[in-house]
Subunit: 190 residues, 2 copies
């Protein structure tokens, strides 16, 4: 198994590349997974996710107070389109053929094959949620595929192409993350 | 000149790839540019930007109510590190050697060489700003380099490598955006 825990102090790096995400949530026995292009960092250890009112997953987030942000990979592009194109309101068996797994301490299902996973606890702000469909979450646990994230840095240039993150444009068009460059005089901690 | 206006209904696509950004702002004659990795879409035509209290640019945003999100390119990686590593509080001549230009209807300077620019008007929410350093902006104008964004889609695969967007990790490490893929059965309008 290549999925390993990531220290909370480095978990933001999983989201900072700005990949298109999938979001999973669960309330009692009801789980769902959605595609979410508008999910980003909202501060140290904070995620901000746009969850439209038509989203089934949003109802589960509202009831449970938790969600998991997935960082999908090239091998999951069709999965991202599938979950984005089907609502559990009209396709109740949406997750039936999806490869899911669980991590210790997280009862929300994770979709197999993503680069990373961020378990977030909702920090409620009624105005932002109701007026702007904007949900803030605090990252409480994180995991990543150790073949492409060593706990501190991404390793795309040493890994298979199908493990790169994906960045959605529109109309079925994606870009994959490309080549890395390292400057020695960069600010910040390594 | 390859910088052309982008329709507001498509402007979100400039930010949706999740690139690291630069942010410029101006109050009276005082302008600044900062690097901002935590800037993303917060809804239709909405941007959410994390602006730490130590940021000089934040003061200008607070006073003027406007900011410009830049989508930098590979040719600007050193510029992103420079503006991120120098504060106007301690380097008052920070912008002196920076190539800047202006667009009609926007008196905030833009840094030459970015893929796109989004002029945003702050939608104030005192709690989000003070408690979380999180600022929401409504996109009111947008421009892009027509060599890489045709008004609807990115054209990276047909353009020089140095015009790809950049995605910052930490410690001077960046990734450039990579290759595109198109699925015909994607949801959403083209």
């Amino acid at each position: 198994m290549t999925i390993r825990p990531v220290e909370l102090s480095k978990a933001y790096r999983l989201l900072q590349l700005g990949a298109t995400t999938m979001l999973s949530a669960k309330h009692q026995d009801d789980a769902d997974v959605m595609a979410a292009a508008w999910v980003g960092l909202g501060g140290p250890n904070k995620v901000i996710a746009y969850l439209g009112t038509q989203s089934y997953t949003r109802k589960l987030v509202e009831k449970s107070g938790y969600f998991v942000v997935h960082i999908p990979t090239v091998q999951q592009m069709e999965t991202v389109l599938y979950v984005g194109g089907h609502s559990k309101f009209t396709s109740p068996k949406k997750l039936e053929n999806m490869p899911l797994f669980y991590q210790d301490g997280c009862d929300i299902p994770l979709v197999t094959g993503s680069a990373g996973y961020l378990l977030c606890k909702v920090v409620h702000n009624a105005q932002q949620e109701q007026q702007f469909d904007s949900f803030m979450g605090e990252i409480v646990s994180a995991w990543a595929d150790s073949r492409i994230f060593d706990g501190r840095h991404w390793l795309f240039d040493e890994a298979p192409e199908e493990l790169r993150t994906v960045h959605y444009v529109a109309g079925g068009q994606f870009y994959a993350m490309g080549r890395g460059t390292k400057f020695n005089h960069g600010p910040g901690q390594d």
